[in-house]
């Protein structure tokens, strides 16, 4: 496999860190779904607050891996901060767009999501997992950042 097509072994997930709106909570739940349940071996979470502060380890993590961002509102803090930190965004998800495509899952609640919110997060997480599959090598020895 050439360098240009060789796949990574990890994707970094950076969700919105918002605490004031439901969509922020959905973004966080989706991120946890991916890194804890769906693709725990091929994804890792980086906290947005660490990027805001310019933490070297967080910046290095986004700079050396493909990143999936999940934004809770149109201000797109997660995507902007990853780009500011020198990261390459493989795919930027907006919770509102996902909701538009799955209006049967209406999210409510901030501290605790309702059932609709949890289902919306799951749908989003599955879409993210597909991206993870596309850009990572599932074999234990594979990946250029192994």
């Amino acid at each position: 496999m050439s360098d240009s097509t060789r796949k990574l072994n990890h994707v970094v997930i950076v969700p919105c860190s918002g605490i004031g709106k439901t969509y922020g909570t959905v973004s966080r739940e989706a991120a946890y779904d991916v890194v804890e349940e769906l693709r725990p071996d091929r994804s890792k979470l980086v906290a947005l607050s660490m990027l805001v502060l310019g933490d070297e380890q967080a910046r290095a993590s986004v700079a050396t891996n493909l990143v999936v961002t999940i934004d809770g509102c149109k201000l797109a803090c997660a995507t902007k901060m990853v780009q500011e930190s020198g990261g390459q965004v493989a795919r930027d998800f907006a919770v509102l767009d996902v909701y538009r495509n799955h209006r049967q899952f209406k999210p409510r609640g901030i501290a605790v999501l309702n059932e609709g919110g949890q289902q919306l997060a799951r749908v989003l997480a599955e879409e993210i997992a597909t991206v993870v599959d596309d850009v990572t090598d599932p074999s234990p020895e594979g990946g250029q950042n192994a």
Binding site: I19, K21, R28, L48, S49, V52, C77, K80
Partner: protein, 244 residues
Amino acid sequence: MPELPKKKVGIVACSGEELPEGTVTRLAALKVLEELRPADTVTICLPLFLAGGEGDRAFARFYPTIALDGCEERCAARATEMYSGTPAASFVVSDLLADNGWEPIYGCRKLNDAGMQAVADTAELMAHTVDELLGKAWSRRSGSFIEPETATEPQDAIEATCACGSGIPVQEVFIEGQNVTLIALSVIFQQFHDAGKIPSDDTADELFDMVKIYNPIPDGSDKTYTEILLREYSNFCHKEEVAQ
């Protein structure tokens, strides 16, 4: 006085998703905002200090702010200070755990019982701090507390809000060779216009007196600021007339 946001306490939580203590900050902040002091508090997402506009970056100067961090990295406190203003108070959950002998907490996504107790205790501590901060007068001009004998700001409270995207009203004005960000200028102009004040030397002096309540004016620059405020107000009034 223009109808600016009333005095509240700003809360900035690190919200760190990688640590249980980050989840404590998020839930404790939310508890204060929604349950304990909804009329007295407002929040902003930490990343907006960089990803947002000047209005977002004015947050901690406009509101006395409590920074709540999960760990010793102190992302919320340090980033707030770097990009917005010095927090009026700050807490670190890992320190609170150690200092108070709380049980170890687990679960980034779903906290254990000790974690939920930490949320409740941290929220109570913050609510108490909110009360203390509201008892002091905060200068939006300098971003610091005013000594009691010169305190003049009202302490009215309105409903709680998330400040994301709304920001503080700010405007950039070119003064003495540089762009200067002035807080509340558009609101002040609108109020003057609504009151029927036409651009004049008297109005310019009034504008200057109002603007300097919210903005620091460099020594020796009063005349320059007054002239430029009159020019900007004339432009504002012209645009209003065209729009009508």
